[in-house]
Symmetry: C2
Subunit: 298 residues, 2 copies
């Protein structure tokens, strides 16, 4: 199970009614944050997410609106009593930038472990696989996906028919075989086959390109930037290396994702809802997300 | 005339309902900002202050809650079309810190001119004298005062009785003597004597010490930190080198200031108004200020 929150949905600069773009995920009591623009700690407080849970921070790229809130976030995380290390994964060049930004928070009660990543790869957050792939933007950057491989459904009927005592069910469901009166009982014998993994993909800031759909393939939830709803910005956004809503819908559609949340709106677009009708014609299950939107993926 | 605004009144970290402490002043269409914690650009937008006017930034000290909003503020100021240089005055060591923080806003359309200042001195903002003096905190820092020396009141009666044509009044009032039919007419001859200067003093973050009252002497408005209202925090605040409300009232009273605005409340103090009664017994003209408070000083 993954709990997903968007503390902010704005691009470029924070507004009184729209914080900067980022994503907060919770799994088994651990917190993962993607990006940390100015005001992120307030945005998280506003949706009652506790920084005490923060274990891992993923940075998409080093434009200010995605990183400027880092020193404040780290200080407040320390004030929440964190002592175990915080892992930060970021594009190449990030170690030096983070070191510079942290000149105003030199004494933290926990270690900050920065690891630069590039290319296409995978890291682990608890039992969640975190995939990453380069985006195409004006500076090096990455998009991310969280994939939870779920245990198959346990079948009490099968277990009972094999005469397996209840105290062994959990172990068996967890993947371990057990020996019962000389018989080896395997997980496959007491479960109902494979379940699709749960997948959440997060893409910002990038121009559209086909590999994004491949990366987001069969996401339960695709969170994707859309700077503008109107087609009139296509050329400008191509130049700035951002997407418009129709690009995001294309990624959602080609990736066969179940649901699309738009985010990272331009400050100039005061009401993204205005484009809801036309974007839903392209990808029906689109949400014009707003700050604070959340969902349990299970 | 000076217009004074407090975009935020919180210390340590920004809260959903309280931005970080700072002061915005406007005079003759020019803007001056003191401090720039995380979210300052939003706080200014919320009170409809335009970054296009920002000409001078004064930094009290380099704790994160007073400077972490700088990169975002500079970027947004650039987006507002600023091209003329921004002057930043700050305590010693600031050049290097500002340079580091600005690694995420490397391309601004205006020059940032940083000048480190120390000791007691004076700089000019338009025709306003900006005084500064060291505070006593855990890192080097400064408090500031703005003083506008006002022109004396013009007396049309005196001008008329001396037979001075109306087209010369402005020049005379502005301080220039004029020659009229061989007579030298001076400003003193057509005005009603001196007027008290207008003075606004801004003090945060500092422990109490007597020179603060000397520095704030006869302020029309004294804006002074007060982390807590309750006396039970005296010892802790002494250690952290902050003031409690009664310290601030003492500065206001000893400096013979007309009005005191409290600011820089601890995030733990959810309702500073709770202490209004007791602080007004110490200094009657105290305002427990909130984000967005403003006043025209004239």
């Amino acid at each position: 199970m993954l709990e997903i929150f968007l503390p902010g949905t704005g691009g470029m600069k924070p507004l009184p009614n729209r914080f900067l773009t980022g994503m907060w995920a919770e799994h088994n009591g651990s917190g993962l944050l993607i990006d940390c623009g100015e005001g992120m700690q307030v945005a998280l407080a506003k949706i009652s997410r506790s920084l005490a849970k923060l274990d891992i921070l993923l940075i998409t790229h080093f434009h200010a609106d995605h990183i400027s809130g880092l020193p404040g976030l780290l200080l407040s995380t320390g004030n929440f009593g964190k002592t175990i290390p915080l892992k930060i994964y970021c594009p190449v060049g990030g170690t030096e930038i983070i070191k510079k930004l942290c000149c105003i928070c030199p004494e933290l009660p926990f270690e900050v472990k920065v690891k630069e990543i590039s290319g296409r790869g995978e890291i682990m957050w608890e039992d969640i696989s975190v995939g990453y792939m380069p985006i195409r933007h004006r500076v090096p950057g990455l998009c991310y996906s969280l994939t939870e491989c779920r245990k198959p459904v346990f079948s009490p009927e099968k277990a009972k028919s094999l005469g397996i005592p209840v105290n062994l069910w959990k172990e068996l469901h967890g993947g371990k075989s057990v020996n019962l009166d000389g018989r080896e009982i395997t997980t496959e014998m007491v479960t109902e086959g494979e379940r699709q993994p749960l997948k959440v993909t997060y893409i910002t800031d990038s121009v559209y390109f086909d590999e994004l759909a491949d990366f987001a393939y069969k996401s339960n939830l695709l969170i994707c930037e859309g700077m503008y709803g109107s087609e009139e910005y296509r050329e400008k956004m191509q130049e700035k290396q951002h997407m418009i809503f129709s690009d995001s819908a294309r990624v959602a559609s080609l990736s066969e994702s179940r649901e699309l949340w738009l985010t990272h709106y331009s400050p100039a677009m005061t009401d993204p809802k205005e484009f809801e009708g036309q974007i839903k014609e392209m990808f029906a299950n689109t949400i014009i997300s707003r700050d604070g939107i959340s969902k349990v993926i299970k």
